[in-house]
């Protein structure tokens, strides 16, 4: 049963407890200065963004069919059955295609390091695989961030909308965006008003490249026969011409 996170923007009070818990879990420094940076970076893997009187939390969406996993040439990124997308820094060669491919612009890079790593939230893979909640969900004092099975959270999100239709924008973000994500959003206003990208296709992005890549064996086999055949024909023509010239 894949895990997920439900973030309800209407409940969030912007206390940033999730940020602190996340920093602690990763062993990253957290202070007022970091708290004020409202964007995810290599030293801040989740953030609360302020949009007027609304809040929006940003973190890795741990997509169901992640573009980053499909583009990584060395398989440093993996989609686990549990839900989280994990990263192996020992494999990573630093091509940063994951950053380019991510539709949510989540992966961050340690630009100033001489031995840099990509950094992103992995939905507390270690904690969740031991049956614990993600650090952020555990820290949230108002239940704005909830961690659990994805199916259950989707049902709960839809139930919340049904129960209080006037308080919610009637969609769950992450349900089908790029084929579905592990982080689901509820909001009082349309999602673009709290800084979420709404121009995303609803089919998984890896399909876009795979459709071309899967033709590779056909191209190679057809190409070899075609080129070999052309060479055979033209070469024969050359041989005949050469013989005729000698005959003369």
């Amino acid at each position: 049963m894949p895990k997920a996170i439900l973030y309800d923007s209407t409940l969030c009070i912007g206390c940033r407890a999730c940020e602190g818990a996340c920093a602690e879990r990763w062993g990253l420094p957290y202070n007022d200065k970091v708290a004020n940076e409202e964007r995810i970076s290599a030293h801040k893997l989740t953030t609360i963004e302020t949009h007027g009187d609304k809040f929006c939390r940003r973190l890795c969406m741990n997509c169901l069919q992640p573009a980053c996993v499909s583009v990584c040439p060395v398989g440093a990124l993996q989609k686990t059955a549990l839900g989280p997308v994990t990263y192996d820094p020992e494999k990573c060669m630093g091509c940063r295609y994951c950053m380019q491919a991510c539709p949510f612009q989540v992966p961050s890079y340690e630009w100033s390091q001489r031995m840099p790593r990509m950094r992103k939230c992995d939905m507390c893979y270690d904690r969740q695989s031991h049956g614990k909640l993600t650090a952020c969900a555990e820290a949230c004092p108002v239940g704005a961030t909830k961690n659990g099975d994805r199916d259950a959270l989707v049902a709960e999100a839809q139930q919340r909308i049904a129960e209080k239709p006037d308080q919610y924008y009637h969609k769950v973000y992450g349900l089908s965006e790029v084929g579905g994500t592990s982080v689901l959003y509820l909001s009082a206003v349309p999602f673009e008003q709290i800084g979420l990208r709404t121009n995303l296709p609803h089919e998984p992005l890896p399909m876009l490249t795979w459709r071309v890549l899967e033709m590779l064996p056909d191209v190679v086999s057809t190409g070899s026969v075609l080129l070999g055949g052309i060479w055979w024909i033209t070469n024969r023509r050359g041989e005949v011409a050469r013989k005729e010239r000698k005959g003369r």
Binding site: P73, A76, A101, P103, Y109, L205, T209, G223, I230, G238
Partner: protein, 388 residues
């Protein structure tokens, strides 16, 4: 040579200045990381080193496989005089692409990782394999030049024995990765501006690479004829110009149809930077294409050269638009390369030009056909006699 000495000195001074700035930029890259040497950010992870050094580098080296296919597979032997320079350009080009990658990768010492740690779903994985294999193929295709210089006949025969499968492999590998560089960007439909994002990117990258490969052949023939004081193979280059005109027409027509089917012509009415960059790119490609249909232009060395240069610039504009400028709005950021990124790129180009010149001086790049096959030579001289 003597009266041109001062000019050479100026070029050498420029070369030295570029190399010095490149060295300092390399120092920054090594000791201060990508952060200290580039303007890349989390929102804009690929800059000039990918957009120019890799995307353009690989494309500009496409003359190698194009001419191998023309001369050896389609057996159009009269193009032989430009084959070796094209293979040399390709070999140098790919070597320099790898140098550029070493600058750009966060962990250059792990360049070999994709060969061991597989992910067949990754376009980058496929490109890594193709570029590695094709660089090997180019090395083997270039070896006869070295053997000829050293007078080693035995290894020459060995290479000859495997040459046909080798050449077919080279053309296939090029087909794959030239198009795959376009496939790389299929994964960013929400970021790349619709004037450039198209499901046909792989095809467009492939066709334009063949075109620019031919344009580069004209470009380097013109330059080497001046540098080495040789006669220009004008009728030959003019016929390449003819092929180029047709090929670029096909390319532009595919782009027109693609844009029409995607219904994006309306975007051209918007006064945005992308519109102007698109117009520049298309003008640089379309103007020389139209001009090359005229014999008067093709048979004039200066005009032919100018057309080739325009197509090369148009190609570069296209790759930079796909790889850099077309992504800025969608990524919600601006990117201007840092001086050190430009310095490294210029240094890589300068090394390329210098190495080409040195190898051209000491190895049989240009006169090979007069040594190799005496009997096909008859036709060749008939062609060339028109030139002089």
């Amino acid at each position: 040579m003597k009266p041109r000495l001062p000019k050479v000195t100026v070029w050498r001074a420029i070369f030295a200045a570029i190399m010095l700035s490149g060295l300092y930029a390399t120092y920054l890259r090594v000791f201060y990381g990508l952060g200290g040497s580039t303007n890349l950010t989390d929102k804009f992870p690929w800059g000039l080193w990918i957009g120019f050094d890799v995307l353009c580098g690989v494309g500009l080296a496409a003359g190698g496989f194009t001419l191998v296919a023309i001369v050896h597979i389609f057996a159009i032997e009269r193009y032989k005089p430009v084959l070796r320079p094209a293979i040399l350009t390709a070999f140098l080009g790919y070597t320099l692409v790898v140098v550029g990658l070493l600058f750009d990768l966060g962990h250059p010492e792990r360049l070999w990782h994709p060969l061991v740690m597989w992910n067949p779903h990754s376009v980058m994985f496929e490109v890594a394999w193709c570029v590695t294999l094709y660089s090997t193929v180019l090395f083997l295709e270039f070896l006869p030049v070295v053997f000829e210089k050293l007078g080693w006949h035995k290894p020459m025969l060995w290479i000859h024995r495997i040459s046909v499968p080798l050449m077919i492999l080279g053309v296939l590998l090029s087909t794959l990765h030239q198009s795959s560089l376009g496939t790389l960007y299929l994964i960013v439909p929400e970021k790349l501006y619709p004037l450039w994002y198209s499901p046909l990117l792989p095809l467009l990258f492939y066709v334009s690479a063949i075109g620019v490969g031919l344009a580069m052949t004209i470009f380097e023939s013109w330059h080497s004829s001046r540098a080495f004081g040789r006669a220009l193979e004008l009728p030959l280059l003019a016929s390449i110009g003819r092929v180029l005109a047709v090929l670029m027409s096909v390319y532009l027509w595919i782009r027109f149809l693609d844009m029409m089917h995607r219904g994006v012509f309306g975007l051209l009415a918007q006064n945005r930077i992308e519109t102007w960059l698109f117009a520049l790119e298309i003008a640089l490609l379309a103007v020389p294409t139209v001009l090359l249909y005229q014999a008067r232009i093709r048979m004039n060395p200066g005009s032919l050269y100018a057309c080739a240069v325009m197509i090369v610039l148009g190609f570069v504009a296209n790759r930079l638009n796909v790889g850099i400028t077309g992504l800025e709005a969608g990524s919600g950021t601006h990117y201007v390369p840092k001086w050190s990124e430009v310095a490294v790129t210029l240094s890589i180009c300068a090394v390329g030009f210098a190495t080409f010149r040195i190898i051209g001086q000491y190895f049989p790049i240009f006169e090979t056909h007069s040594v190799a096959h005496a009997d096909s030579e008859v036709e060749e001289t008939e062609e060339d006699s028109v030139t002089v």
